[in-house]
Amino acid sequence: MSFAQKARYNFMKDLGAPALMWLRQSQRKKRPRKPNPYLGPPLKCAGRLREIMTRHYYLSRFSKGAKPVAWVTSGAPVELLRVFDFYTIYPENHGALCGAQKKGPEICSEAEKKGYHPDLCSYARIDLGHAFSGKTPAGRLPRPDLLFCANNICQTVLYWYKELSYYWNIPLIIFDTPYNFQDIREKDIEYMVCQFEEMIPELERISGCKYSHDRFMKIIGIARESASTWGRVLATMKHRPAPISIFDAFVHLAPIVSLRGLPIALDYYRILLDELEERVAKGIGAVTNESKRLMWDNIAVWFKLRDWSLLFAERGLNFVAATYTNAWAETIHYLDEMSPFESMARAYSLVVLNNSLNYRLKLMEQMIRDYQVDGLVILSLRSCKPYSVGQYDLRRLLGERLGIKSVVIESDMTDFRAYSEEQTRTRLEAFFEALEV
């Protein structure tokens, strides 16, 4: 790491980023948004979230050379990387950002030009497309020194990160989490712990930092606290009316994904939780007239977030639960400073996508009861096999067991070439009719 680059990074962190935030905020104040009659007042925290994420992406431009840079999958145990002071970039989060800004097809096509099939996961295509063309709405992403990949969410990330590693000739560390076809076994935990032990010298070499157990324990504590606060944020949606919706949660998820293990994420969720508790106390809902409550299964459709939040809100429908947002609150509570490696293995390998479909069925049943859900929207995502294979049966079984009404819609999370407005509208209209809204 060079002294000049470190000095530049620190300058930008202490002066450049705050100046940018100030400028953005003063511009934003000049054009306030018109309130929508179907939606509750916007969250006060939203500005702070924007600030945090903008700052994160902005500073990342100056991180190269000042800090070791890692690109990390959303389910990877990033806590270990924090010990070595890696600046972490989450390509999936970047993919979501591109999706929300409707840049998915344009950036995906850069990967397709190189031969990547349009059937492949669009997060991967966006990331590879960005790597080949530099296109991104985030300004510029730093080239990584390390790729860190955990296959607890899918095997796709493994294939995808292998490509990046090859293309840039940079090291790839894989954290292999055996799939829990049934219960997790001790030997699975041991295998994962051994992998952590194997990783440490490699991480020391790449980062030039020494492993510090004290630091690791602190980070583990912060990560657990952040995830449990995130869990409490989600749990506020058990109230009627729910103070936020899952569409909000999709957005407010960014820090727990991208900044997990850093104090800033914990601070943010504490502020958010305070605001939501205040809304609960005052009876303020995310949807002004919440009549029915819904659950969402799968990742968000980023390019439809705003449209759909209005479409559902107009009918008094609020999404109060989702398997996706829950994933970052579900197992991180296992983290334990007393046995950091074992607990981290457990926390990361017990996430919903690394468990059997029976587990997912039970989890959804529980969530439907806890959140008093009236209907279920299942998004079948052609990009994502682990999330989507099994959904038809999941729908059938939940219907049989709980009598819950549901609809399956087909789309992609970022690539709107795989989305049909007409077909979706028809299915949703039928669903609304069944719900009598």
Partner: protein
């Protein structure tokens, strides 16, 4: 009827009558020798000749046809005579299909899962593989009784024999010294997907004795990559066009069949060592460099004039590797053809034209 004349189903029923246990095994990597040692006949399920109807109610159309055909076979009751299923952890789609069958549909028979490490680089992965083998053994023992350690050693020896026979097949074919067409070659190879070793070994030996040494050397050598040689009509087309598949990088082919023998004493460690020294495979997380080097070595050894990637539609492990592999081969002057294939759909006019044009180009 001799074993050679029997259909796959008849053979499996015959084996069952003889007291063997028949397991349906989904793709791709699993310890055959362990199953054999427990008197199990693994019947692999890749591309059964069924029409997909019932599976449509369970799987989206964007799931690969290996998984869709496999589930269809189960739903149509064509696996009812089996004594169990084994699901190796090959990819996300197989993983979830296993769970659909086990958790949602109900297989009414024991289901086993075999996780092979996706991080093939460290010591941890090797140790885990051994533990996973032992775990599979213990689970099978609950259904089938204790494993006889001598039987395992004997089956491992048979496994070595089979690999060396396949190795001979591949070598002779590479040199143009095997007198069989492409279709016949793969038909024989694929009988290993369900024959018990006691029957497979003599059959392979007979095949070699009959066909050794009379091959057509002048045929155009190409390498075939992908998961499996389907539609089978493509092999007939190669024959018609004077193409000899001089080697392959198929998941049902060299990636699994050419297993280097291990001299370790412990049979489980032996199986592990063989597994980790098999040719690189996308389903095992092999780095691209290794796959590239493997393909280049096959081209060099067989004088192949081109590489055909026959990729199953929606097969993520394969499709991710294709762009870099084709790019690298082209840079080194080897032409490539990439086909996007739905299984059992025959040879479309477009596919035929593309293959013909490719062969014309490399001739």
């Amino acid at each position: 009827m001799t074993k050679t004349q029997m259909t796959r189903k008849d053979y499996l029923l015959d084996q069952k009558q003889k007291g063997r246990h028949i397991f349906g095994v989904f793709p791709a990597q699993y310890p055959k020798e362990l199953l054999w040692a427990m008197n199990v006949v693994p019947a692999e399920i890749w591309d059964p000749p069924v029409e997909i109807t019932a599976a449509n109610a369970h799987l989206q159309p964007y799931i690969c046809s290996v998984v869709r055909f496999g589930l269809e076979l189960v739903l149509e009751g064509k696996c009812d005579f089996l004594d169990g299923f084994l699901f190796p952890h090959t990819c996300d789609s197989i993983q979830n299909m296993a769970s659909v069958i086990h958790d949602y549909i109900g297989a009414n028979k024991p289901c086993y899962f075999f996780y092979h490490p996706k991080n093939p680089h460290g010591k941890a992965a090797r140790e885990y593989y051994v533990l996973e083998l032992k775990n599979l053994m213990r689970s099978l023992e609950k259904q089938l009784g204790p494993l006889n350690p001598d039987a395992l050693k004997q089956r491992i020896q048979q496994g070595h024999k089979i690999s060396s026979l396949f190795g001979e097949f591949y070598d002779l074919r590479a040199k143009g010294e095997l007198d069989v067409g492409n279709g016949e070659f793969y038909e024989q190879i694929r009988r290993g997907e369900y024959l018990f070793p006691d029957d497979l070994i003599p059959e392979l030996e007979g095949f070699l004795a009959r066909n050794k040494g009379k091959g057509e050397k002048r045929l155009m050598p190409v390498i075939l990559s992908g998961v499996l040689p389907n539609p089978p009509e493509i092999l007939t087309l190669f024959d018609e066009l004077g193409v000899r598949v001089s080697h392959d990088d198929l998941l049902i082919g060299s990636r699994r069949l050419l297993v280097p023998p291990s001299n370790l004493k412990d049979p489980f460690k032996q199986l592990a060592e063989s597994y980790f020294s098999m040719p690189p495979c996308s389903t095992k997380g092999a780095p691209i460099v290794k796959r590239r080097e493997y393909l280049l070595s096959l081209i060099k050894a067989t004088g192949a004039k081109g590489v055909i990637f026959n990729v199953v539609k929606f097969c993520e492990p394969e499709w991710f590797d294709v762009p870099n592999l084709t790019d690298e081969l082209k840079k080194r002057g080897t032409p490539t053809l990439v086909l996007d294939t739905e299984l059992n759909q025959g040879l479309s006019g477009q596919m035929k034209t593309r293959v013909e044009a490719f062969v014309e180009m490399i001739s």
